[in-house]
Amino acid sequence: MKRIVTWIFLLAILLAGCSPASPAPQSASVTPAPRTLTVFAAASLTDAFTELGKKFEAQTPNVSVTFNFAGSQALRTQIEEGAPVDVFASANHKEMQALIAGAFVAQDSPQVFLNNKLVVILPADNPAKIDALTGLATPGVKIILAAEEVPVGKYSREAFEKMNAQFGSDFSQKLLANVVSNEDNVKQVVAKIQLDEADAGLVYTSDAVAAPELQTLEIPAELNVIAKYPIAPLVESKNADLAKAFIAYVLSNDGQAILEKWGFASP
C-alpha cells in the first residue's frame, strides 16, 4: 500500500515537471539536417498559423516550423531580450514599430498581411439574453475583455468610445463597470466564455470562428475597429531565405485562403 502511494506520488512529481513549455527550436539530429524556422505570432493567429505552418512544411522539404504564440507585447519583449526568431507576426503596428526602433526589424520590411475586426461572443445558451449591443451596458451583465495593454483590449475600448456617439455618452462607462476580468490574452477571453463564466466577451472575428459553439453579435462597420497585422523577418535571422519564403507563402493566394477560412480578411 505504502509502496503504491509512493509510486503514484513520484509519478505526480514527474508529470508536474512535464508541463508544456513554449516550443523551442528542435535539435537537428535527424538525417539530412532539417532546418527549423521559428515564428513568433500573435495569440489570435494560433489556429490559422498552425495550419499554414503545416502546409508550408509539406511544400518545403526538410523544414520544420515552430511557433511561439503569445500576446504581441510579450513576444516583442522576448525578441528584445534576445530570443532567436526568424519571423514576427504582430497584431498591431506598435510592437512592430518598437522592434524597428530597436533595429531588430528593417525599416521597410513589415507588410500588412491581414485585417481583423471585433465581434461580441456569447455563451452557447446566452444566459443574459443579450440580443443587441446596448444589452452589454445593462447592469449586472458580466463582461470579460482583454486587458487594455493587449491590442484587442485597446481596440475594444476604442470601439466603445465610438458606440458612445450612438448609444449615449455614458454607454462605455456603464459597459466598463460590467467588466469582471481583463484577461492577458484574447484566447483567455474565449476560454472563459466557453466555460460560461461570463455573459459576453469581445474578441476578434477570427477567434469566434475558432469557437463555433459560441453565439456571436456583430458590431456594425461604423462602430468597429479594424486591426491590421504586420509581418516581418528579423534582421538577426539565420534562415533569411526561409523567412522570406514563409512570408511570401502567407501573402500568397493559398496562404490568404487559409487565413480567410479562420475568419481573417485580406488587407
Binding site: A12, S19, T77, A147, N182, E183, L195
Partner: protein, 243 residues
C-alpha cells in the same frame, strides 16, 4: 547553484534602477495590487493555520483507514502546476461548475471575486503549512505525550500544553512559507479569479501585465514584491532565533 538564484534576482534590481522607478513602484495600480496581495495572502495564511493545524494534528496522531490517501490528497497541490489548480477550481466552483452551479442557485458566484483569489492561494499554498505542521507534530517525543496522558491530561490539554509549544517553530515556518507562496501565486489565480484592478489583480498579475505594456513597470513591481517577500522571510528568521 548560488549563481542561478543570485544572477537573475540581482539583474532585476540592476535593470530596474532608472528615473521612473518610484513613479512605477508607487503608481495607483501598483499600490492597489500590493495591498490586495498582502490582504489576501494574510487571510490565506490565517485560514491555513485555523483549519490546517487540527488537520495536521489528526494526521500526525490518529490512525484511520485511507489516511495515506488523505495525505496524498493534501500533498498533491504542492506538486501540481498552478494552472491545473486554477482550471480545477474553475471547473468545480465556476458558474456552471460541479458545485458552482448549486452555489449560483443561491445567488453566490465565486469566479472573478476576491474570495476566488483567496481560494486559489489556499489551494496552492495551504498544503505547505499542513505538511510542515504534520512533521512538527510527528517529531514530538512519544514519551512526553505518554507522560502527559499519565498525568491525566485530556486530548485538548495534550494538544495545547504539549504539542503546540513543542512544534511552534514548525508551525511558524510553515505559516510563513504558505504566506509567501500565497503572495507569489499567479497561475491558479489568473485562471480562477481573472484580473481586475482592486478586486482580483494581485502583484504577480500586475507584473505579468506590466511585462506586456512596459518592462519598466514589471521590473519595479518585481523589486517591490521581492523586498516584501524578503522582509517576511527575515522576520521569520528573527522570530525563530528569539524563541
Amino acid at each position: 547553484m548560488v549563481g542561478l538564484f543570485l544572477l537573475p534576482l540581482a539583474s532585476v534590481f540592476i535593470r530596474s534602477v532608472n528615473a521612473d522607478f518610484f513613479a512605477y513602484a508607487f503608481s495607483e495600480q501598483a499600490v492597489s495590487a500590493l495591498k490586495l496581495s498582502l490582504v489576501t495572502s494574510t487571510i490565506t495564511a490565517l485560514f491555513a493555520i485555523l483549519f490546517g493545524t487540527p488537520l495536521a494534528y489528526i494526521l500526525a496522531n490518529w490512525k484511520f483507514k485511507f489516511k495515506a490517501w488523505l495525505e496524498l490528497l493534501i500533498d498533491l497541490p504542492i506538486v501540481l502546476p498552478p494552472s491545473v489548480a486554477g482550471l480545477a477550481l474553475l471547473i468545480a466552483f465556476g458558474r456552471r461548475g460541479l458545485f458552482g452551479s448549486y452555489l449560483s442557485l443561491l445567488g453566490i458566484s465565486l469566479p472573478f471575486t476576491t474570495t476566488a483569489v483567496v481560494m486559489a492561494q489556499a489551494f496552492v499554498a495551504a498544503p505547505l503549512y499542513i505538511r510542515s505542521a504534520r512533521v512538527g507534530f510527528t517529531s514530538i517525543d512519544q514519551q512526553l505525550e505518554e507522560a502527559a496522558n499519565v498525568e491525566g491530561a485530556n486530548r485538548w490539554q495534550m494538544f495545547r500544553e504539549v504539542a503546540l509549544p513543542l512544534s511552534g517553530k514548525a508551525l511558524l515556518s510553515g505559516a510563513i512559507l504558505t504566506w509567501t507562496r500565497a503572495l507569489g501565486e499567479f497561475g491558479a489565480t489568473i485562471l480562477f479569479a481573472g484580473n481586475l484592478e482592486g478586486v482580483t489583480q494581485t502583484m504577480p498579475m500586475a507584473i505579468y501585465l506590466g511585462f506586456e505594456r512596459n518592462v519598466g513597470v514589471a521590473l519595479a513591481l518585481s523589486v517591490a514584491l521581492m523586498i516584501v517577500s524578503a522582509l517576511l522571510l527575515l522576520a521569520t528568521k528573527k522570530l525563530e532565533q528569539t524563541e
